[in-house]
């Protein structure tokens, strides 16, 4: 370990950028969330509209907005589908690859990882077309056996339709992370169990999964944070479906308030609420699992 002034020079670009593009926007959002526009007289002419302190009024309005609560509930349900299904699939695929009992390993690993290279907007676009009854092969197949497939973009299915896009896009990356962790396990840790007659499934559940626990915790955390900020998928699907409202997710509501209604104060308050909730949930989760992840080890 060395000392001196050099570390500050190395850190300077990062600190300047951090201050300008992370710290300042957070502080500014906090400031705006406590402000409002006051209209005096008829609201005409210069000086008729002035910015004044609003107390917690914007927060009260944001939290009691009849469209905010449903969007939070919707994203909660969306997260309950996406995170377990995506990580479950990723873990199963990673364990299957690691067990090495197949000749299609390289092909499957590359194919499942491929969707990570497809931006969420493009993925939503591809799936969006595949959901259209006139294009969907599933509708054709079900139709051939006499079943009328439900419209994936109808109000009762659209949540699953969006969840499927996120699962499709995220499984491969998480699989690679878990697979890398599995490959790092020393073989002798489970060779002994194998000699004692343990099956592949027993070895996977009793030995491998507990060892890669920290990786599972981190993939869970990152997936959770990504889920709370879902924006691109529903925004892209909107032109194909009239069941996705402009406030379908909390972040879409922030966008609408700021740019469609020009109410930046309310948008700022909602942003602060989402940021605080994300932070509390991730921090609470790390406390809950008692993880020493993020410790300043070494």
């Amino acid at each position: 370990m060395r000392t001196g002034r050099a570390p500050y020079a190395f850190l300077a670009p990062a600190l300047v950028l951090f201050a300008a593009f992370l710290a300042a926007p957070i502080v500014y959002a906090g400031y705006l969330s406590l402000r409002r526009v006051k209209v005096s007289g008829l609201g005409l002419g210069a000086g008729a509209r002035t910015e004044v302190w609003a107390g917690l009024g914007n927060y009260a309005r944001s939290l009691t907005d009849p469209e905010f609560v449903p969007s939070v509930v919707r994203v909660g349900a969306y997260g309950l589908i996406v995170v377990p299904v995506m990580l479950g699939l990723a873990l199963v695929m990673a364990l299957l690859l690691d067990a090495g009992r197949t000749r299609v390993g390289t092909f499957a690993r590359t194919s499942i990882f491929l969707p990570y290279a497809v931006p969420a907007v493009i993925a939503s676009l591809l799936w969006g077309f595949l959901y259209l009854p006139r294009v969907s092969p599933i509708v054709d197949v079900l139709g051939a056996v006499g079943i009328t497939a439900p419209d994936a973009l109808s109000s009762s299915w659209v949540l699953y339709a969006v969840a499927n896009i996120a699962i499709w896009g995220g499984t491969g990356f998480n699989m690679i992370v878990l697979y890398t962790a599995l490959r790092a396990i020393p073989t002798d840790l489970f060779e002994a169990a194998r000699i004692d007659g343990a099956s592949d499934i027993q070895i996977a559940l009793r030995i491998k999964v507990p060892i890669i626990g920290p990786s599972l915790v981190m993939t869970f955390l990152f997936s959770l944070v990504a889920t709370l900020q879902v924006f691109a998928e529903p925004m892209t699907l909107r032109p194909l479906s009239n069941t996705i409202s402009t406030t379908w997710t909390p972040l879409m509501k922030v966008y609408r308030d700021a740019f469609v209604r020009n109410d930046i104060y309310s948008a700022a308050a909602t942003s602060v609420v989402i940021a605080a909730a994300t932070f509390l949930i991730s921090y609470g989760f790390l406390k809950l699992v008692g993880s020493r992840a993020f410790s300043q080890e070494r």
């Binding site: 950028l17 290279a117 962790a181 990786s215 900020q229 700021a258």
Partner: protein, 295 residues
């Protein structure tokens, strides 16, 4: 937690040695099902981009046609090649942003891993807070601040916020700690190297494999980003391909002929990233949990 990229010399043992046992049909079937699910939409877009506008909705989904080059020509003609401008913009945002943020992250990570200084734990905790802070929530306040200095609707509005990546700094700190021995830096100092030379000539080459991973992470994150350019940019000549195509899809609602261009554009837009992935696959060995076990 830590992230470890296996050094190139430590190749994982070949599967045959690790499991010299018979293959399992169940495993093969499950993996192929997973692969099929992931390839299906990609296969569809490849086939659909060969269809003419009338065929797109009226022929069997997976029946290819012969109009790929017509579709590409039509897309290229759209507003004087606007689509290709979007692709160049995406490459510029992702390439420039990832290169700059990798350098910024490497310097900061190196300082955090190899020096003792006042305020180190404050800086480190700020980085961790930044990792957990979802970047898209910052997009609206970032827009409002950049609007104050008149920088919205410029390339810089998208590039500058992508130069800082708390996660990249976090990764680089781990790479520097794991791959650059203190003795080597000490030796460089004995030879009279300045701190900067020790970093640039000694530490950077040692961290190379990890830096490629950070670059790829950031490249994909910027290339895939939608909300930041969507909010920052008004002029469609500055759009990256994600924002451009989603705008085209919006037009399709009133001009269904646009759908062919949207599908062809989507197909062409995923080719560069897929090629990048297949060629640099060996760098995707990110172990998010390794350090926590060792800690």
């Amino acid at each position: 937690m830590a992230v470890a990229v296996l050094p190139d010399t430590v190749k994982p043992a070949p599967a045959v040695i690790r499991s010299p046992r018979r293959t399992s049909p169940t495993a093969t079937v499950l993996l192929l099902l997973g692969a099929a699910y992931c390839l299906l939409p990609v296969l569809w877009v490849v086939i659909a981009s060969t269809k003419s506008a009338s065929e797109l909705f009226n022929t069997f989904t997976f029946l290819p046609s012969t109009h790929l080059f017509d579709n590409i020509a039509y897309l290229t003609e759209y507003r004087g090649g606007l689509y290709w401008r979007w692709m160049v913009n995406s490459a510029l945002f992702a390439g420039g942003g990832a290169a700059a943020s990798t350098l910024v992250s490497a310097m900061a990570g190196f300082a955090l891993a190899k020096y003792d200084f006042r305020g180190k734990s404050v800086v480190f905790n700020m980085v961790l807070g930044g990792v957990l802070m979802p970047a898209v929530i910052l997009a609206v306040p970032q827009y409002l601040l950049l609007a104050k200095v008149g920088m919205t609707n410029t390339y810089w509005a998208v590039l500058l916020p992508s130069f800082i990546s708390p996660y990249g700094i976090y990764l680089c700190r781990i790479f520097a700690a794991a791959t650059v021995p203190d003795e080597v830096l000490e030796a460089a100092r004995m030879d009279g190297a300045t701190d900067w030379r020790a970093f640039a000539r000694v530490a950077l080459p040692m961290m190379r494999s990890g830096l490629v991973t950070v670059f790829l992470f950031q490249f994909v994150a910027i290339w895939n980003n939608y909300m930041l350019p969507f909010i920052m940019l008004g002029d469609d000549k500055l759009f990256p391909v994600t924002v451009g195509l989603s705008g085209l899809l919006n037009q399709g609602a009133t001009q269904p002929a646009m759908y062919t261009s949207v599908v062809t554009g989507a197909f062409l837009s995923i080719i560069p990233l897929v090629v990048l992935f297949l060629t640099l696959q060996r760098y995707w060995r990110v172990d998010l949990g390794a350090g926590a076990v060792k800690a």
